[in-house]
Amino acid sequence: MTVDWGWFPDHQSDLVTLTLDHLSTAVPAVLFGLLIALPLAVIAHRVRALRGLLLGLSNILFTIPSIAIFVLLLPITGLTRTTAITGLTIYTLVVLLRNTVEGLDSVPTKVREASTAMGARPLRTLLTVELPLAFPVIMAGVRVATVMAISLVSVASYIGYGGLGQLFTDGFQRNYPTPVVAGVLLSLLLALVADAVLVTIQWLCTPWLRRRA
């Protein structure tokens, strides 16, 4: 198997387009996942009776293969980017929900009680005390979900919205490994850069952890 490295500069603009395409499926999926997971996690954390149900349901969703999720969505959303984003959102939900609940659980009861004793209502305690303290654990989930979403976008190439995954189909059909190598490398690079960006965001948002260290 030989890789034709000259292919890379020749296809530079295609590669940029596909990378951006890849990001425009993965990033909204993580954002929507977070948007859905946060309120659900607060409910699961506060209402013990719903906790098992919510976590169990998200675990079941996780057992459906990603390609099957895309296919199952086809009758509803059709061959559109919405299908790709929705499918990935469902996948990120499991990790995000679990980590956010764990993060909220990790906040010591005394801290929560102190906030209440100082007269803060539940919503204010949640926004100014619990969520900031749970932030590192939630971010750990966001990092895993992002890396997972970026590696899974390729699966959506079966419905035509796979970003860099398009290169896999192309290389496979033409029996030509170079685009496949390009797709794998760029996908890995993208995941690496995204993770680094998230670590930086986390570092910037938690000055209190820095001072302690």
Binding site: I64, S154, G165
Partner: protein, 225 residues
Amino acid sequence: MIELLKDLLRWLTSGSQWSGTDGIGTRLLEHLQYSLLATLVAAAIALPVGLLIGHTGRGAFLAINLSGFGRALPTVGLVTLVFLASGLSMWPVYISLVALAVPVIVTNTYAGMAAVDPEVRDAARGQGMRWYQVLFQVELPLALPLIMTGLRLACVQVVATATIAAYVSFGGLGRYVFDGLAQRDLVQVLGGAVLVAVLAIALDLALAGVQRLLFRNRPPRAHAH
């Protein structure tokens, strides 16, 4: 939508669909064979690595980064690449599935080992236990619930991903998904997808049952990624 569900039910329940060399029975067994073999090979690689890193405390940084790298590796890309390199064989399927499962098992095994109370470990050493006695009689039993969680997660992901075997012209339940996509036969695609999901959930529940039998007196399980 209702029509589609009716067709799906008919597809899943028709007797002729279940028998023969390309029937659901055969495909189910193929899928199970790919998944179980890949999970077992991954466990044989990942468990010693995770245990060793957890026991010595060395190489944790490397292990965590490698598993992050493994998670970022697109499975479809890997299967295509190995296929183009090796030609028509089962290698692409098994290599991709093992690569998918190893990071999950390593991370969870390491997390389980790291969660063992250092004082318990010191006490075991203080009683004159050898390193392998500490590892197998103290650390391993305490880390087992998290290790089992890792194996379950890996198994579910492998079953879900084993559909790619059909992508490189082999069998398994992915056959229905890919053939259905090629023939624009939505019922067949849905049927395959439902069967994979049911198989994954069934295996997860079976492993959960094993876990419950093994740890009847243990605190509830925790998660790592």
